[in-house]
C-alpha cells in the first residue's frame, strides 16, 4: 500500500516535470519563431507560398523529354541530346572544376602537413609558434571559402586561380587542425626512442611520427577532396572559375532546362567522387572517418 503511494506520487512528479520541460521548450520555440519572423519581416504564409512556388520553378526547369524522341539528335525537341546540347562546354567546365578541387586539395594538404607539426601540442618546438599557428589555422577555416574567393577575384581577376587559392586556404585551415589532432593522439614511444638515440626534431617527425599517422592523414585529405569538389562547383558564383559560373549565368537568364542539366551533372559528379573516394578510404587505406 505504502509502496503504491510512493510510486504514484513519484510518477506524478515525473509527469509534472516532463510537462514543465515540454511546455517551456514549446514556448521558447514559439517566441523564437515570432521574433525571427519579425526580424526578417515575414510570416508563415509567406513560407508556405514560397514552397508552393518552388514547385512551379522545379516543373519549369525539368526538361520536356518525350519518350519516342529520347535518343534522337540534338536538333529534335524532347531528346536527351536536345536537353544536353551544350554538353561539351559543361564537360570542359566540369573538368576545370575537378582540377580546381584536386590542385587545391594537394597544395592545401602539403601546406597543412608543414603547419600541423607546429600546431600540435606534442610536436610543436615552440609554444609561441604553437599558439600563433593555431590562431592562424582557425582564421583560415573559420572564414568561408567564398569570402576568400571574392577577395582573390578582386586581386587576381576572374578565373579559376582565385577559386584555387580560396579553397587552398580553407583546406590548409581545416586539414591543419585535423592533422595536428592526429599527432596529438599518436603513440609517443617511437618519438621517444628516436630522441633517446640522438635524433633531431626533423628525424623524430619523419621516422617516429609520420609512418604511424600517414594513412590517417591521406584519408582526411581524401575526405577533404570530396568537400572541395562541392565547394568548387559553387565558387563560380562570384567569378572564381568552374561550372558554377555557367550555372550562375543560366539561373539568372532563366534558361530553365539548362539549369536542370547542369545541376544533374553536378550531382552525378559529386556522388561518383564521393563513392570513389569512399571506396579508396575504406578498402585501400583501411580508414573510414565517416
Amino acid at each position: 500500500m505504502m509502496n503504491e503511494i510512493i510510486l504514484n506520487s513519484h510518477n506524478k512528479n515525473l509527469i509534472k516535470k516532463k510537462r514543465f520541460w515540454n511546455t517551456s521548450l514549446i514556448v521558447l520555440l514559439l517566441i523564437g519563431i515570432v521574433l525571427s519572423s519579425k526580424i526578417i519581416d515575414t510570416n508563415i504564409s509567406d513560407l508556405f507560398n514560397g514552397i508552393t512556388r518552388l514547385g512551379d520553378y522545379i516543373s519549369k526547369i525539368l526538361p520536356s523529354l518525350e519518350l519516342n524522341n529520347l535518343f534522337l539528335g540534338s536538333k529534335d525537341q524532347g531528346s536527351i541530346a536536345y536537353w544536353y546540347f551544350n554538353i561539351s562546354k559543361y564537360l570542359k567546365l566540369l573538368f576545370e572544376t575537378f582540377n580546381m578541387a584536386l590542385l587545391a586539395t594537394m597544395t592545401g594538404s602539403i601546406l597543412a602537413l608543414f603547419l600541423s607539426f607546429l600546431a600540435a601540442k606534442n610536436t610543436s618546438p615552440n609554444s609561441l609558434l604553437f599558439f600563433s599557428i593555431r590562431r592562424m589555422l582557425e582564421f583560415f577555416r573559420g572564414v568561408p571559402e567564398i569570402i576568400f574567393a571574392i577577395l582573390f577575384v578582386w586581386v587576381l581577376g576572374i578565373g579559376p586561380l582565385a577559386g584555387i587559392i580560396a579553397i587552398t586556404i580553407h583546406t590548409t585551415g581545416s586539414l591543419g587542425k585535423l592533422f595536428s589532432e592526429v599527432y596529438e593522439n599518436s603513440n609517443n614511444r617511437p618519438i621517444e626512442a628516436l630522441k633517446a638515440s640522438g635524433g633531431n626534431w626533423l628525424s623524430e617527425m619523419k621516422f617516429g611520427l609520420l609512418p604511424q599517422v600517414l594513412p590517417n592523414l591521406i584519408s582526411y585529405a581524401l575526405l577533404r577532396f570530396e568537400i572541395n569538389i562541392r565547394a568548387s562547383t559553387i565558387l563560380g558564383f562570384v567569378g572564381a572559375g568552374g561550372i558554377g559560373q555557367e550555372l550562375y549565368l543560366v539561373i539568372n537568364f532563366n534558361y530553365y532546362e539548362e539549369v536542370s542539366a547542369i545541376i544533374l551533372l553536378i550531382i552525378l559528379t559529386v556522388i561518383s567522387i564521393d563513392l570513389l573516394s569512399g571506396h579508396i578510404r575504406k578498402n585501400i587505406i583501411g580508414f573510414d572517418n565517416d
Partner: protein, 274 residues
C-alpha cells in the same frame, strides 16, 4: 657490431628507396607530373602570381587600419547578424518539422515496403546533392532578393539531410518497445507515438540543434547571392572596397559562430545527459 654487420642483418631496410618501395616513387611521380600538368592547364605563372599577390599588400593594410571606425554603420551590421540568426533559426525549425514525418516514413521501422522507402531516399539524396548556395540562387531568382529566399534555401537543403539523419535514428531504435506495443494490440499510430518517438526525440532535437549551429555558418554566405543576412552586408562592402569594414564584419562573424558553437554544444550535452 660494425655497420657492415647491421646492414647485413637488415638488408631490406638499407636497400635503396626504389627497391624498397617502388609504389612510393610512382605515387610521387604521379603527383609531381599532375602538378606540372595543372600549372600548364590553369596557365599559372609563378612570377605573375607573386606580382598579383603583391597587390594584396595595400588591401591587407587597409583591412587593419580602422581610421573612421566611429562613423561606420553599425546598425546595418547588427541587423545583418540578427537576420542571419533568424534565417538559420526559421530554416532549421521548418526543416525539422517537416523532417519528422519524412524521416519516419523513410525509416524501415515504420514503412516495410522497400520500393517506397527507396524512392523517398533517392529523392532526399537528390535534395542533398544540390548545394545550399545553389538553392539560394534559385530562390532569389524565383522570389526576389531578401532573407525569405535564404530561409527557404536552408529549409530545403536541411530537409534533405535532416530527414536522412532522422530516418537513420529511427532505423537504429530499439525494437523491443515497439514489439511490446504491437503485441498488446495498439494501433500503428500509437505504436509510433509511444514506442518509437520517445526513443528518437532526444536524438532528433540534438541533431536539429547541431544543424542550427551549422546553418548559422551557411546563412552567412547566403547573402552573397542576395539572400539576405550579414553576407549581403559583407559582400557589398567588399565590392565597394571598404576592406576595413569587411574585415570587421568577418571578425564579428567568427565571434558569432564561436558563441553559437559553445552554446549549442552545451545544450546538446545537457540534452544527452538527461
Amino acid at each position: 657490431m660494425t655497420n657492415q654487420e647491421i646492414v647485413m642483418l637488415n638488408p631490406k631496410i638499407f636497400s635503396p628507396l626504389w627497391k624498397r618501395s617502388p609504389i612510393k616513387i610512382v605515387v610521387f611521380l604521379i603527383i609531381f607530373s599532375y602538378l606540372i600538368f595543372s600549372i600548364k592547364y590553369f596557365n599559372i605563372s609563378i612570377t605573375e602570381l607573386i606580382n598579383d599577390l603583391n597587390k594584396m599588400k595595400p588591401i591587407l593594410i587597409s583591412m587593419i587600419t580602422w581610421n573612421d571606425f566611429l562613423s561606420w554603420n553599425f546598425n546595418s551590421i547588427l541587423v545583418g547578424i540578427l537576420q542571419t540568426l533568424a534565417m538559420a533559426f526559421l530554416g532549421t525549425v521548418a526543416a525539422s518539422v517537416i523532417s519528422v514525418p519524412l524521416g519516419l516514413i523513410a525509416s524501415r521501422q515504420v514503412i516495410k515496403i522497400n520500393l517506397f522507402r527507396f524512392i523517398i531516399r533517392r529523392f532526399l539524396d537528390f535534395i542533398r546533392g544540390v548545394d545550399i548556395l545553389i538553392w539560394a540562387l534559385i530562390f532569389v531568382r524565383a522570389f526576389g532578393l531578401g532573407p525569405l529566399s535564404g530561409v527557404l534555401a536552408i529549409f530545403v537543403a536541411d530537409t534533405g539531410t535532416l530527414s536522412k539523419l532522422y530516418s537513420e535514428a529511427a532505423d537504429n531504435s530499439d525494437n523491443k518497445q515497439i514489439e511490446g506495443l504491437v503485441s498488446s494490440g495498439s494501433t500503428k499510430l500509437s505504436t509510433i507515438r509511444f514506442g518509437l518517438l520517445p526513443q528518437v526525440m532526444p536524438i532528433f532535437i540534438s541533431q536539429s540543434l547541431y544543424f542550427f549551429e551549422s546553418n548559422s555558418r551557411s546563412a552567412v554566405i547566403l547573402g552573397i547571392v542576395g539572400a539576405g543576412g550579414i553576407g549581403l552586408q559583407l559582400s557589398e562592402r567588399m565590392k565597394a572596397q571598404y576592406w576595413d569594414q569587411a574585415f570587421f564584419i568577418i571578425i564579428i562573424i567568427l565571434i558569432m559562430v564561436a558563441i553559437i558553437d559553445k552554446l549549442s554544444r552545451f545544450l546538446r550535452e545537457k540534452l544527452i545527459n538527461d
